[in-house]
Amino acid sequence: MSANILTVNKLYKHFDISGGVMDQLRWRDGRLQRHKTLVRAVNNLSFGLLPGETFSVVGESGCGKSTLGRTIMGLYPPNSGEIFYRGARIDNLNHKQLLPYRKKMQMVFQDPYASLNPRKTIRQTLEAPLRYHYPQLTTAEVKDRVEEVMLQVGSDPQWVTRLPHEFSGGQRQRMSIARALIVDPEFIVADEPISALDVSIQAQILNLMMDLQQQHQLTYLFIAHDLSVVEHISDRVGVMYLGTMCELSDTAPLFETPRHPYTQALLSAIPRLSGDRSRHTRLKGEVPTPINLPSGCVFHGRCPFADQRCIAEVPPLILLEAGRQVACHAVEEGRI
């Protein structure tokens, strides 16, 4: 536990979408009541990240993977639960107390067109976090550091005078990575960093991220929906469905023998170059909304193995074997 660089314990994040007080009023049981509509984006997540590893969170749209990343970064306050960074609790700190952690934890966003300020030159974008976190640096030192980071991400340091619109998507994503890297972080949350890029550019950015990880001993929390990319770069993978973690495992065994029925369906749906479609398992129905979460196991409505217990009881994440946790009653009972 203490070896973890990041520990998340029983994390909940709900969003209130019920609007103002007047919108919340409902007539029920013969009287006027206040009724809140909550989006239960993240429910009871617990896991830890080891230093230097790449932990990927996968799942389909709306499963809460981005919310998880943003909550860890302190962009959203959690509703309950705890987040520890190197053993120190960080979820209840105020802005000032968080500052030393902001240097150590950085984020790379999905859309390199939206995440760089279009009116600031690359130099301004890169210098801002550096001057903020290291006010003691001289102008010359700042300039050197910007140049160093530009070289690290494989860009020409001459380009710092340019504006974001002068760059292609791949180059912009390099700048986003440079901005995260410039304060010398240990831990980076990368929220779909390559999904807006073309295939040949994706490979460039993935290689860059893997190189940087080796050079700087970075720990990545990699949020993605592209499973073949996840398989390629992760040490461990957490599969999310409707705000809960249904399987958490080392990468190779997960892709070889997925245990949770949802993981099985998800992995079998990956299009492969071999063109073999025979092994696809199809799910029935659709993902329910996180506003009205199903009782018991959130997957029971679509699961071919669901029984009475799955409808009534929430399955906990149990340790199946070393490096393998699954939240499924059927797996626990040995039915699958």
């Binding site: 389909e60 398989e231 390629h232 299009p271 170059l273």
Partner: protein
């Protein structure tokens, strides 16, 4: 196999302030009845422009500069607008990427489907039209279609909306469907369902399909033939399995090697250096030459035409000897 569609030396240009730029430059391919063809390439390769220009949907400032699109022997590129309307959306349908942008949010699904049918066939009664709409909704496996006809697009999930779009495309029993990134906006499990559906429909209805996508794996699952595009030209085409198993053009080779493969954990991916040129500064000779690992002197001066490579695949690359003129090579 009878030829359904023949695209011949299609050149589409866009008139911009600084002069015309060429979006597709001499694209040619044939499609047989019931055949599924994939057009693959990265953003800016000209694959969507090709798809749109087949049904002459290129709007200002774009125009078809030369070339022909023969559908049953008739050239769609020079056809009158009135005649074109009897084919576009009728015998050739199109499916677009974003299902939310394609449907009208203020009309029910039923209204939109019936309107489509009655536009193409004004004699058709409303009863009959809604009967056909129901039949097509069943065909794309939408549960309780009678109820669904009364609903608005926002009441459907992304995958369901894409099914509706497909059902609308099917209304007129088209002979050809052009699908522009039909699964890109969808999750992977939904994508698999939609791909299954498209294959099933092509097979049961005998429709041809042109699938435009950036995803080689999707092409591998769905299509029989593939054309790989780069900077406005087809650089490689052939049977899908052959192209993917043994790509001949260095660009296709690089593209396939850049994909993460199962079991390759942590290894460096093969990357193609640089990026696709913009339409304004396409290099002289082969457009791929600045990024090509096997570049030769001739690549910088002469644009290669499609030639037959070792395994019968056509590749536009100087690596392969120019033995058979391409006009005689039919896929």
């Amino acid at each position: 196999m009878t030829t359904l569609l023949e695209v011949k030396d299609l050149v589409v240009k866009f008139a911009l302030r600084g002069g015309d730029v060429t979006a597709t430059n001499g694209v040619s391919f044939d499609l047989a009845r019931g055949e599924r063809l994939g057009l693959v390439g990265e953003s800016g390769a000209g694959k969507s422009v090709t798809g749109f220009s087949i049904i002459n949907l290129i709007s200002q400032p774009g125009y078809i500069a030369s070339g022909a699109v023969n559908f049953h022997g008739e050239n769609l590129a020079t056809m009158s607008a009135a005649r074109l309307r009897t084919i576009r959306g009728n015998r050739i349908s199109m499916i677009f990427q974003d299902p939310m942008m394609t449907l009208n949010p203020v009309l029910t699904i039923g209204t939109q489907m019936i309107e489509t049918l009655m536009t193409h066939n004004p004699q058709m009664g409303k009863e009959r039209a809604s009967g056909i709409a129901l039949e097509k909704l069943r065909k794309v496996h939408i549960p309780s279609p009678e109820k669904r006809l009364e609903q608005y697009p926002h009441e459907f999930s992304g995958g369901m909306r894409q099914r509706i779009i497909i059902a609308i495309a099917l209304l007129t029993d088209p002979e050809l469907i052009i699908a522009d990134e039909p699964t890109t906006a969808l999750d992977v499990t939904i994508q698999a369902e939609i791909m299954d559906l498209l294959i099933e429909l092509c097979e049961t209805e005998g429709m041809g399909m042109i699938l435009i996508t950036h995803d080689l794996a999707v092409v591998a699952q769905v299509t029989q033939t593939v054309a790989v595009m780069y900077a406005g030209r087809v650089v490689e085409k052939g049977p899908t399995q052959d192209v993917i198993a043994r790509p001949q053009h260095p660009y296709t080779q690089g593209l396939i090697a850049a994909l993460p493969q199962s079991g390759g954990h942590g290894r460096r991916l093969n990357q193609i250096p640089g990026m696709m040129p913009t339409l304004k500064d396409i290099p002289l000779g082969c457009a791929f030459n600045p990024r090509c690992p096997q570049v030769m002197g001739v690549c910088r001066t002469t644009t290669p035409v499609l030639r037959r490579a070792d395994n019968g695949v056509l590749a536009a690359c100087h690596l392969y000897p120019l033995s058979i003129p391409t006009e005689q090579v039919r896929l």
